[in-house]
Symmetry: C2
Amino acid sequence: MKAITSRDNPTVRRLRALAGSARERRKLGQSVLDGAHLITAALDAGWTLRELAISEQGLQSAEIVRLAERCAGTSCEVLRLPDAVLAQISPVDTPAGILASFDLPAEPAPRAFTDSLLVLDGVQDAGNLGAILRTAAAAGIQDALLSPGCAQAWAPRVLRAGMGAHFALRIHERADLAAALAGYPGQVLATALRDDSWDLYELDLRAPVAWLFGAEGQGLSPEALALASRHVRIPMPGRLESLNVGAAVAICLFEQLRQRRDMPTR
Amino acid sequence: MKAITSRDNPTVRRLRALAGSARERRKLGQSVLDGAHLITAALDAGWTLRELAISEQGLQSAEIVRLAERCAGTSCEVLRLPDAVLAQISPVDTPAGILASFDLPAEPAPRAFTDSLLVLDGVQDAGNLGAILRTAAAAGIQDALLSPGCAQAWAPRVLRAGMGAHFALRIHERADLAAALAGYPGQVLATALRDDSWDLYELDLRAPVAWLFGAEGQGLSPEALALASRHVRIPMPGRLESLNVGAAVAICLFEQLRQRRDMPTR
């Protein structure tokens, strides 16, 4: 385990830049994971880490020591830092004693999508985006398409809210939604509160669906709305006629799941 | 419209304290709302505001000017502040040009609950709590019970994420969950990933349900779990076996809604 003490160490400076700047992450093609839970999820999914940076206090945790042992002898360099140096790198307010850097995955190859998809247009809130990816991964979705207006999927805050979802999905960033959905064999459903919207619970959702969700507030852009084969509304009997986009995604994906469970095996 | 220019004005200092401190909010029995949308929702719901504080820039917005006109002649005092003074009060990073103070509602009277309920144990994240209240209000829930370990429901960040839900619900803070659920005539369902948990989609949810959700991470406390008449699991076929608590709430409440829509009218 290599000890680093200076805040001006080039590795420390790089990690700090990765934690704090979307531009640096893109430029270097790397990002950082914070905390033992996420790092374990990445290793379990077969990801290779570049560096594991552990604070003195982190070394008191048996879970973190096990992660260090797991990386020893691999290409991942294990670094030991004073608490204050790690705290200054870490993207979270309460640093968990460990963070890791990793190479961003290559953009997944373009493919003809045939199964259900998550398609996000302009979802900029990092916490929302992460929670939505987590819901999609739990629902068994394999591919997530993100329009250029979405937050960077690999930002530390999105990774944290994703709780491992990033390692279970193929994430297509800066996707050309129209091109990606051209020739899609299933329905393209967009949630929209319109008079001509279909009631979610009256639709047959057993066949593949590309689920299109827009940004909180603005909703879908006209270009994205135009891609929809149908507009869907979630019936809301309460005095509030709006849902957080993360709640809408959960309701739609799990309603599809419910219907599919009754699907006769073919 | 009264003009205030000094940061040291007593009203400015009180508003700043309300925006920044849970203790001050409790001590004074007041809180603040940020932005025209929330303030409109409060007025539409018949709430009385104490003060409306508008920045110079806010006065450029027709929507904000209409709110000022709506409050003129009422007991609500309308104040005009330099942009920098409002920015320093405001709990958000990008102040919306208007905020309002209001008296916290009286704790709703204890009642014998007979319809479906939202019961939260230790949900501390403000954004999560607000989004959950919003989902509950959209689903038509009337009462939300919050254990003493939950975040303060009337904190500005919770109000903002709630998007008006606070004005559509009866919120019972620091609730004694065991006392409140004693004698509840319906099922008390707690989401828990246990071997003996019931599959959400195999339960009949048409009768009233008290829905019990715990904190992200820890889940429900043993005391809260013991209140459940059944444990429920949301089936997750994906590679990720966990959901954000907000997503879990949305899936459960809207599954109940779906089942209830098919209920014959009596």
